[in-house]
């Protein structure tokens, strides 16, 4: 009966209730987006790192992967050392370099990864074939469209360019054998990959060097223990596990997260004030009606329940609408932010997680209960005789 009365009270002023629900929906959408934003990047980054199953990355001592042009010498020796640990399943040395691709009169710059195709974890082959021969290269869509070439075309690729003499060094003819998507690459990046020995041969100074190593550990093995072992065994590298990488990302994103939490809290508070105001106005308007209910024997606690239910009903309806609205705006905002130059394509700023939606819904319902408390207290403490007298005079 109480819930029916609460709903009926809200339906009595349809337009006002609808506006309040919309207001709460906007606050709820903002709250959900902020909850998604505060955890989204971290989770998305984690999923990205785990997607290829390489739990440890080795970078030159004191650097992050591809943070500098520094390389690790002695690929063969390091690989042999790593093979000494039974928990290590696969080792993928990767050499990174800038390249120039000569297409007619044009010079298109891009980046190239030198990999071993049997163990690489940097890209997914979309069409064509992988770099199975020394003269093969695979490229991403951006580079394909920049060059205006197709799979099967031969390109003249150079590793260096001297602007003074206008000459290219380490030049070589390579055949585009496949179209790929680089997992850690940005949308607007011109990227390619070839066998590591091909890239080494083009750059005479990079013999037996790698920019990083990606290491896959055996299932069930403790990646942190393997990382510690690598640190001890190979002193000229920094071994970074996914947990360490996530911790570093967490640290870098902490201001971002704090901002999301503050904006989310502000949204919640705005929603709370909106519901409190609406229900208080409604209670004030119905003072006589509430006094009559009390006079005919309706208890204080039941009046409180009814008023709190009104707040919860507005919050719940607003929350459900707001969750849908939040998902739509998150998708739109994600598209804008993901287009930011230099970001990996797979990074999502707003990652939908059911837990985030439940958290937002729970917070809004708790806020709805809170919002109903003040007007409910007002309604329950109305002096019956005095309220009836005022109503009669009015």
């Amino acid at each position: 009966m109480r819930s029916a009365l609460a709903l009926a009270s809200l339906i009595r002023h349809r337009a006002r209730t609808m506006l309040a629900v919309l207001g709460v929906a906007v606050a709820a959408a903002m709250l959900l987006d902020m909850v998604m934003l505060s955890t989204g990047m971290r989770e998305s980054f984690r999923e990205l790192l785990l997607s290829r199953g390489f739990e440890i990355t080795l970078a030159p001592k004191g650097t992050l992967p591809f943070d500098t042009d520094a390389t690790i010498p002695g690929v063969g020796a390091i690989t042999a050392t790593l093979r000494g640990n039974p928990d290590i399943l696969e080792i993928s040395p990767v050499l990174g370099a800038s390249i120039h691709i000569l297409a007619g009169n044009r010079d298109v710059s891009g980046s190239a990864l030198g990999i071993d195709p049997s163990v690489q974890g940097d890209y997914e082959l979309l069409s064509g074939r992988d770099v199975t021969t020394p003269d093969a290269m695979v490229v991403n869509d951006h580079l394909l469209s920049q060059l205006g070439v197709r799979i099967g075309d031969t390109l003249s690729v150079a590793i260096g360019y001297d602007p003074q003499t206008r000459t290219y060094s380490g030049q070589r003819k390579l055949v585009v054998t496949g179209r790929v998507k680089f997992i850690y690459g940005a949308n607007d990046q011109s990227s390619s990959a070839m066998r590591r020995e091909t890239l080494e041969a083009m750059d005479g100074q990079s013999r037996d060097r790698a920019s990083l190593f990606m290491v896959r550990v055996r299932k069930g093995a403790n990646a942190e223990q393997v990382r510690d072992w690598i640190d001890r065994q190979i002193p000229n590298v920094t071994a970074i596990s996914i947990a360490t990488a996530i911790a570093q990302v967490d640290e870098r994103l902490s201001y971002f997260r704090q901002l999301a939490v503050i904006l989310g809290a502000v949204s919640l508070f705005v929603g709370f004030l909106l519901v409190t105001t609406l229900v208080t106005v409604s209670v004030n308007e119905r003072a006589g009606e509430i006094a009559v209910m009390r006079a005919i024997g309706v208890s204080r606690s039941h009046v409180v329940e009814q008023v709190v239910l009104e707040g919860v009903a507005i919050s719940f309806a607003g929350a459900v609408l707001g969750l849908a609205l939040g998902l739509v705006t998150a998708r739109y905002l994600n598209a804008i932010l993901s287009a930011f130059p230099g970001l990996p394509m797979a990074i999502d700023f707003f990652l939908f997680q059911p837990r985030a939606a439940w958290s937002a819904l729970g917070l809004l319902i708790v806020s709805g209960i809170g919002a109903g408390i003040y007007p409910a207290w007002r309604a329950a403490s109305l002096p019956i005789a005095e309220s009836l007298r005022r109503e009669a005079i009015a």
């Binding site: 009365l5 009926a8 009606e289 009559v292 005919i296 024997g297 019956i384 005789a385 009669a392």
Partner: protein
């Protein structure tokens, strides 16, 4: 002997009741030592000029207000110092209220309005709908039970309010200017309904300026300046 004394004790008994209000810096003495008894089955009209304390007296009898001093007993129970919870339960089981402005809940149908106090008294849904239907029949609105208050005339609304007041079988029916918002013809219908109710055994106390309503009562209580001047 004891049983006989209980049966014959007044259903309403006020002794030297005073009620003061603070009105800004002033103190208003709304009731100044009222002593009054109402017998079971009686039909009493409280009359007097505006501001003489009639409604204040009715509020005290209806246990929605408490006296500054003096005692109020209804059906043999002291009600002047009850807690809010006790007073609410007492009103629910023993008092039926009829107001000048009907005060039906606009969001509920006539039937639901009548059933509301029974729902509060935890009467089963089937039983309360059956009884609400009977009560609406009794007040002559058997065909209007699904109508909302806004779809009923003033007289019909007041009859629904009377049915609501009777829903939990109260010991006492209190009415504050029940014909105040009605025209002469519908007012007469309400007067007639009150007479029928009293004839069927309901004890009624009404506060009114309406001479016709007051004349229909068995007894008139005249008030002036917060005192009963002629009971």
């Amino acid at each position: 002997m004891t049983v006989r004394a209980e049966v014959e004790s007044p259903i309403v008994s006020l002794r030297d009741v005073r009620r003061d209000y603070a009105l800004g810096a002033e103190r208003v003495h709304a009731l100044q030592g009222v002593t009054l008894d109402v017998e079971r089955g009686d039909y009493v009209a409280i009359v007097g000029p505006s501001g003489c304390g009639k409604s204040t007296l009715l509020n005290l009898i209806g246990v929605i207000d408490q006296p500054t001093s003096g005692t109020v007993a209804i059906a043999g129970r002291r009600v002047d110092a009850m807690s809010d919870r006790e007073a609410t339960q007492f009103r629910l089981r023993n008092i039926g209220f009829v107001f000048q402005r009907f005060y039906l809940l606009p969001i509920l149908s006539a039937l639901e309005n009548v059933a509301l106090p029974m729902a509060e008294a935890k009467v089963s849904k089937g039983e309360r709908l059956e009884r609400a239907t009977e009560l609406l029949e009794y007040v002559g609105l058997g065909n209007r039970e699904r109508h909302r208050p806004s779809e009923l005339s003033g007289g019909e609304q007041q009859r629904v309010a009377i049915a609501r007041a009777l829903s939990n079988g109260p010991t006492l029916l209190l009415a504050d200017e029940p014909t105040g918002e009605l025209d002469a013809r519908t007012g007469a219908e309400i007067i007639s309904l009150f007479q029928r109710l009293n004839a069927d055994g309901t004890t009624i106390v009404v506060v009114t300026h309406d001479e016709d309503l007051a004349s229909a009562a068995r007894r008139k209580v005249h008030m002036r300046d917060g005192r009963v001047v002629d009971a």
